[in-house]
Subunit: 312 residues, 2 copies
């Protein structure tokens, strides 16, 4: 197969786009597509101060790389979760982020959960009633809280994450199976700030398949952590991804069209703004000052309060 | 496993309801559940004249049986599609309906498409541009038109169909993958008449799994056609059903909760009434007098007109 642009040997073939490209034209294509998506969804501009949350995985490091090459003002944020102490998942993932930042001469901000909260994620999870023993719920809640607070405190304009199309579609699929109306209303390539304590969020890779971000990282020679988080084994999101992968094999482009049709329906006003999770009606948490959908402490502060009470 | 009601040997175990029942209590359960669903969704009453569309398959014959035993005023309607002439799919399916009607001493109305339209479904399909050679689209359009017209002309109050949970969920899944907003707005256990030429429709079996209606038919000794329609091979609905069956195996109750959560979201007003397929804004077809979402001839009349023009 030959590159559509130059006729040299193609490195990747994207069936859903009917597009095969060589290494150089693929890297160029990812850049121009990312720029297009940033513009299409009005995510941010070259004047904005951007922080990208990096996990050490291919998506977030590739995103940092792309945004740097597109000359955006971007820094990294790594959150140390304390997963598997020692030479562990968290230690390895942090060192991939540090190596990348050094090579790029970019600034990496680091927040270590156990310094912030006197607890690692597995410890917090053991002491919390959330998630029935699985740390994923506690981890998600904590990361969202820390990322938001860090970005607000440091005065960034926007927080970006490396969610790819496969991530977005797995989330959409789960929210649709449950008809979680609040989550369906909120799922979007860009989430506006609707509260002074809520950072604007954007997902510039939301329309790239996972294999496309992986191919980018590989062709750019980016070193990243291959392993899944050890706690992710058996997670519903991984089950849903496997099911959706089968669907994609049988109907190439199915994921992309599912996601785009969802965004179109939403844009055309198909969903009402009813329901408990209306992001336009946020309250302020009396403990942390952050945004919350409830009246009183936010879910993160309630979890921490409960864990601390249990330890007295 | 023992029957929850009487302790005798169970004939069926319904994991999603955590309920095992013997033959007698299962048949009783299907009756009482159907009555409950008819009441819950305000489908029809004992004063209504009901016509049930029967295909010769297990669902529609079981539904006719259940409604008769619940003392509703119900007659059958069989539509002969002319599929595989001779001792064929249509001939066999018709004879199952006739046998059932004779045994039950119930009235079966028969409409043969080739007498109404001078064409069988496969012939119509060959001459039509709909469905790209597959007759399923032409068949669905024609059946819906004939059922509706028959029920309106004969003055019935409601048309009921044997759609089971697996059917409804496969349709819902497809409409969700495509975010077909018009279809999502309309999919419902009961469709009110919003036009004088549109019959009220109801699906009393919409909350029974296919295996539950099959078990009912089997335990009641109802003779029905086992074969799928020969044209259904490779249909998207069958692909979707297989995918959803895998999901159900891994997460028992997943289909039911997907469907119920959808109905709840809808009832709570999650979907707006925007979009092209607003059933509350129906027009009248100048050719047949039936309802249509467009201005001008309805889709059925347009198809017939085109086929007739092609034959001149």
């Amino acid at each position: 197969m030959k590159c559509r642009r130059c006729g040299h040997k193609a490195s990747i073939n994207m069936r859903q786009h009917k597009l095969a490209l060589c290494k150089d034209h693929y890297l160029e294509w990812i850049l121009s597509q990312t720029e297009r998506i940033i513009g299409k969804y009005k995510m941010f501009t070259h004047q904005d101060q951007i922080v990208v949350a990096v996990s050490g995985g291919k998506d977030s490091l590739a995103l940092w790389d792309v945004l740097s090459r597109l000359d955006y003002n971007v820094e990294g944020l790594y959150i140390g979760l304390g997963i598997n102490g020692g030479i562990s998942y968290s230690t390895k993932s942090r060192s991939y982020c540090e190596e990348f930042a050094n090579l790029q001469k970019s600034k990496l901000n680091i927040v270590e959960i156990n310094k912030e909260l006197d607890n690692t994620i597995p410890e917090l999870s053991k002491q919390s009633s959330r998630g029935r023993g699985k740390p994923c719920s506690v981890c998600g809640l904590t990361k969202r809280h820390i990322m938001n607070r860090f970005a607000i405190d440091k005065g960034y304009d926007v927080l970006v994450t490396g969610h790819n199309l496969d991530d977005e579609v797995a989330t959409l699929f789960n929210n649709t199976l449950n008809w979680s109306t609040g989550y369906l209303q909120r799922q979007s390539p860009v989430l506006e700030s609707t509260h002074p304590g809520l950072i604007r969020k954007a997902k510039p890779f939301c329309r790239f398949y996972e294999r496309e971000t992986a191919a980018y990282a590989l062709l750019r020679g980016i070193q990243y952590i291959y392993d899944e988080c050890p706690y992710a084994v058996g997670a519903k999101s991984i089950y849903n991804k496997a099911l959706l992968n089968r669907l994609e094999v049988d109907r190439p482009g199915a994921k992309l069209s599912f996601y785009l049709a969802f965004l179109k329906a939403k844009e055309e006003g198909f969903f009402t703004q009813k329901g408990e999770s209306n992001i336009n009606l946020l309250n302020t948490c009396p403990s942390c000052g952050g945004p919350t959908t409830v009246i009183g402490e936010c879910a993160f502060c309630r979890m921490v309060t409960k864990v601390n009470q249990g330890n007295k």
